[in-house]
Symmetry: C2
Subunit: 334 residues, 2 copies
């Protein structure tokens, strides 16, 4: 059996010793023999996603914490290289929770085949996978913009945000992005079709945001939290809908994202909903069908940040949490 290489989650971050690459430990070992009903996957891409940071904490958020001493969790795409599973054959391309490693064994429970002909396989980790369905759910099921309404999207060029923005344009909304830096903002406007994009690092961010919102905010898709979120909340219209998808800028290390005054919820008769896309598995087939059609027609684009080799995973992960990525963060393993 081939030699495997990957990362164990070795220690939890603490207040005194914040999260970092030191929490992971590189391993190298032979893969086990397959039992009946198992298949072996050679992973081609690993997806790095903000939710992983939450799993590193001992306090469970919506999911159980990552177990210490085990391979760090993560979705991968790859190819079946050996199989004793009746539904998977050598050469099949698949999407699974393969973890931060090159080879993964699976009993098929959370593995499904992907069509590596109609889209690059790594798209099933992004716009045609969990981040895409996340975007679809929050925009369609929570914000549900009417034509002409204004939707604000934070982390506007990220794996989730970029799909939110494009779906909102397809729904004929006015779409305003919030992103870190001029380059991301230019991409949001020029490539993704945002009507405006505001750099949250700009010293006059509050004024720039307000200027980009002549008609206020009807829908807010929040991926980040922190100070930019507070500014968005100051621009809500009556009956605004706020989809809370992530609070990556502030929450994982125990820095809260407060809402300064609940009164805005009452004055604006606003609706705020936190959501996790895995609660809504029943809607995945519909979402993936729609996203696939938009990708095929060219209405849905995406961009990737690709780190090379499994050894780069920890550094790439923490760089992403600080906004260092530009589009969907992947690690190429082949």
């Amino acid at each position: 059996m081939p030699r495997n290489r990957g990362f164990i989650f070795a220690t939890r971050p603490t207040r005194d010793n914040p999260a970092g690459a030191h929490n992971f430990q590189l391993f190298e070992r032979d893969t086990d023999e397959l039992a009946e009903g198992e298949a072996l996957v050679r992973n081609h891409y690993l997806s790095l996603d903000p939710y992983m940071r939450g799993r590193m904490n001992a306090a469970a958020s919506y999911a159980a914490p990552q177990a210490l001493g085990e391979v760090m969790t993560g979705r991968t795409v790859g190819e079946i290289v050996a199989s004793r599973h009746p539904r998977f054959a050598v050469g099949d391309f698949v999407n699974l929770t393969g973890g931060w490693q090159i080879f993964s064994k699976s009993d098929g429970g959370d593995m499904r085949k992907i069509d590596a002909q109609s889209a690059p396989m790594q798209a099933y980790l992004g716009a045609l996978g969990m981040p895409g369905v996340t975007a679809w759910y929050g925009l369609r099921q929570i914000i549900a913009p009417k034509p002409g309404e204004t939707v604000v999207v934070s982390a506007a060029t990220g794996a989730v945000g970029s799909v939110v923005g494009q779906l909102a344009k397809i729904a004929d909304a006015r779409v305003v992005g919030v992103a870190g830096g001029a380059q991301k903002c230019a991409y949001a406007r020029d490539e993704l079709g945002y009507d405006a994009c505001v750099d949250h690092r700009a010293p006059d961010f509050a004024a720039l945001l307000k200027a980009a919102l002549p008609n206020g905010i009807d829908g807010l898709f929040e991926n980040v939290g922190g100070a930019p979120f507070a500014q968005s909340m100051r621009n809500l219209n009556a009956f605004a809908r706020i989809a809370v998808c992530g609070l990556v800028a502030s929450g994982y290390d125990g820095t809260p994202t407060p809402l300064a005054d609940m009164r805005v919820m009452l004055d604006k008769r606003a609706t705020m909903r936190g959501f996790i896309v895995s609660d809504h598995m029943d809607l995945w087939p519909r979402a993936l069908r729609e996203l696939g059609a938009y990708a095929k027609s060219g209405q849905l684009k995406w961009r990737e940040s690709v780190a090379q080799g499994i050894d780069s995973a920890p550094d790439a992960f923490f760089a992403m949490l600080k906004g260092g990525n530009f589009g969907k963060q992947l690690v190429k393993l082949v």
Copy 2:
């Protein structure tokens, strides 16, 4: 024409000169002659409601501010004593925005007849009026409790809260009240049927609340805000619904009710909605029909705090904002 007496809204509260009875000015004057299409009402009861405090501020919240120099707004019930209106005859009992005064002229625009036989007329200012419909909307349309779920209601014995609690019991929920003082809590349990009620003035409120919530909170009907609200937010279950109806304890004087960390919305995939019942006039007939039926069957009870005479209105109003009332706050004018 008869002599009228009431209160003008004379000055706005400011940071340096907080709201108080001094903002109102007693007047006495003859009522005007009726024009064609007008009717004159002798008000029997004036309703005092927390929303009035918001109207006193210059910054409009969800409604336009109360105009200076005009009769202070408020719903009343009374009897037609003179009429040049085709739909209203002398002797009809009516519900209208009559204001803080004994006699009101109306063109019928926001006046409707009430059935003073099947319920005491002042009930149409409480459980069978705006507060009742407010309770109905927040509980049925936002919280929508399933049998066995736990619903928490703040200001549990107030005009709105008492109806929320009883409707939640009718829906077979476990219902926990939060109220100020042992007497109100005893009434909530013994008369209104709450499963438990916790005194927010108790020094160990947080522990008492937690003990009353062995299964956490699925629905939170928030009338008050402030520190008790923050405690409730610490006990949410996954998929909790929070109906934000009022923040009377904290908000009107510019003291915010913060949400310490938005992360709870994400971790619990919670939904929070602020609402104003006047946005949902289409549902009033259905709500009033149901509330009337529950009142008739004895499943819906209420309690009143009645101040005597129009001159008592300002003091009764500010006492209510501090929780001095016990049940629906009224002013008896006849």
